[in-house]
Symmetry: C2
DNA sequence: GTCCCGGGTGACAACGTTGTCCCCCTCACC
DNA sequence: GGTGAGGGGGACAACGTTGTCACCCGGGAC
């Protein structure tokens, strides 16, 4: 910038004015400056601008796994909003590890991101209070913050969706409906279990429930165990996309009515098509980002809690008779 | 930092020394400083550090679409390497738009990213020369840079993979093998067409080739046209994952031998399983990131061009008889 | 007692911007 | 011709760090 000023025969500040399109520069002077900028290939140093302005125009996104279709769709939607607002997106995957999550948040905050969007892994987010007080807003998506923290949150109707799927299977005559869920310490898994349980009512049987981190081996073992029961399940409700796919592989063609939480590509092309409760990851990301920018533009209302609707997509697998 | 210095009764520089773990600070002093840091909740301002140091410890990633499974897997691998190196990842999707791509690169460079990893959309990357000369290395992944630019590049064996799939179909007795590819202006699409064509040899028939941006309607139309020929195709080779899925939907159960470029989740669960040529997006991302960091650590060799192998995964669809 | 050495510490400048304030010049008006 | 207004431009400080250099003081060698 100094060089440009020298080349154009003006002061530093005048170059700054031209670069920022500020008024009060003679057109001829501005032209001279622009010409010098082009000639020298100058581009403003955003680091310095940021240092001066105090705002980085950067948003941090912490998700579980960028490579998971659900989160990558969410991330893409966040990205679009963020870039539409003239900001950039720093993204990082926590791999469902609270320690790593905290480390990432710390790093983001040291970089002075303007705001955070989080799919939290842990249950203790008290460490965020300090940042929030320091003026870095955060929005939680997919899962709420731990106790003691109340910020903007976007969730889907986990319990309602699970009940919807369960009732769908019930309506097709099933009474023995198994539920495979993720680790119950994960908010969404617990809520879906709750929805399933309340829809099952007196038909609920603990032996038909298995909740743990999805892995091919454990899913297979859980299914085998249930199928060996006196009154084995005739239908299966899987608590997230990964579990649905894992269960499909474990079933290996054995006929079983099936409904899954989360839609996934190709669910319609399998035989039979897989009935799912679909949520909208892109919508979730978009809304979370919009809430964040509302905060950034100074909104000071109490935290908002948005619950997105889900919808049942019957495709055949949930309509098999017992 | 000034406040911390004041609170601990030391000079600014001493706080800086403690924060950076520099030697030459009396343990007792250091302890006092650390205590003040904790009490005031101080965290170093990276923007200022960056301004001073000239390095941002940030890498920019420009890909086509973060929500696409192929690119999100690549992005995740890049992210892991980048974070492993103590840097952060800025990511953005070009949506296959050269103008947007250029805009994103410009923005990244204005932020002084240390390096760029790109899946290029356009064919003219001369605009990068300036940045490269300014010391911002770039690595291209999946597709090479346009003419006149030579930098580290990681590709997969597109032509070889396409030939592999084509020969697989030929080996199963097919002579009329159609090829659905993406827009031929996309490097990978052109190379795959080349591989298909050379494997087909004298059997090549232009009427069995359709190259354009995948869309359900156009794929269906192309298939209808080919199936209406005197000698319709008995097998189909699709040029990327999206096309494979779109074609599967368009075929709607009509029997047809099929092989596709790119593996995708559930390919094994369809009936029949979909035979694919699999590449390794995570490996591609990892290697691209590693090449970048090699440059960042001062390596000055001529640009490297890495070609990753692909492998055929027969699953049934490619083994159907004519 | 003087000198030197070196560990511990601090003052200052610089990174590249931008906000604030001030200056100068021109022109119109009295 | 003097004066005021206002547009165009510049000097300077500040953002929060860190590299450079200089300082102070205690202890050991002569």
């Amino acid at each position: 910038m100094k060089d440009v000023a020298l080349a154009a025969g003006v002061a530093l500040k005048t170059v700054s004015r031209v670069v920022n399109g500020e008024p009060g520069v003679h057109p001829a002077t501005a032209e001279r400056v622009r010409e010098a900028i082009d000639r020298l290939g100058y581009s403003r140093n955003e680091s310095a601008r940021v240092l001066r302005a105090g705002r980085t125009s950067t948003v941090g996104l912490v998700i579980e796994d960028l490579a998971d279709p659900f989160y990558s769709a969410l991330g893409r939607a966040v990205e679009d909003v963020v870039i539409g607002q003239g900001c950039l997106l720093l993204s990082a995957s926590s791999s469902e590890d609270p320690v790593r999550e905290r480390e990432l948040v710390r790093t983001f905050c040291a970089r002075r991101v303007d705001g955070l969007i989080m799919v939290p892994a842990g249950h203790d987010h008290s460490y965020l209070c300090q940042e929030l007080e320091a003026g870095t807003p955060a929005v939680f998506a997919d899962r709420p913050p731990g106790p003691g923290l109340d910020v903007d949150t976007v969730l889907c109707d986990n319990a309602g969706g699970a009940a919807l799927a369960t009732r769908h299977l019930l309506a097709h005559g099933h009474r023995r409906i198994a539920f495979l869920g993720d680790d119950p310490s994960i908010f969404t898994a617990a809520r879906r279990l709750h929805g399933y349980r309340s829809a099952m009512g007196h038909l609920y049987d603990e032996r038909l429930v298995a909740m743990r981190t999805p892995a091919p081996g454990s899913v297979r073992a859980d299914l085998e165990r249930m199928l060996a029961l006196d009154r084995p399940p005739t239908a299966l409700f899987t608590g997230n996309g990964r579990l649905t796919v894992t269960a499909l592989r474990a079933l290996a063609g054995r006929p079983m009515a099936l409904a899954g939480f989360d839609d996934f590509e190709l669910a319609d092309l399998l035989t039979p098509g897989v009935t799912v409760v679909a949520q909208d990851p892109a919508g979730m990301g978009r809304i979370a980002a919009e809430l964040l920018f509302r905060r950034l533009s100074g909104e000071n209302d109490p935290p908002r809690h948005v619950t997105l609707p889900v919808r049942l997509i019957p495709r055949g697998s949930g309509e098999l008779p017992p």
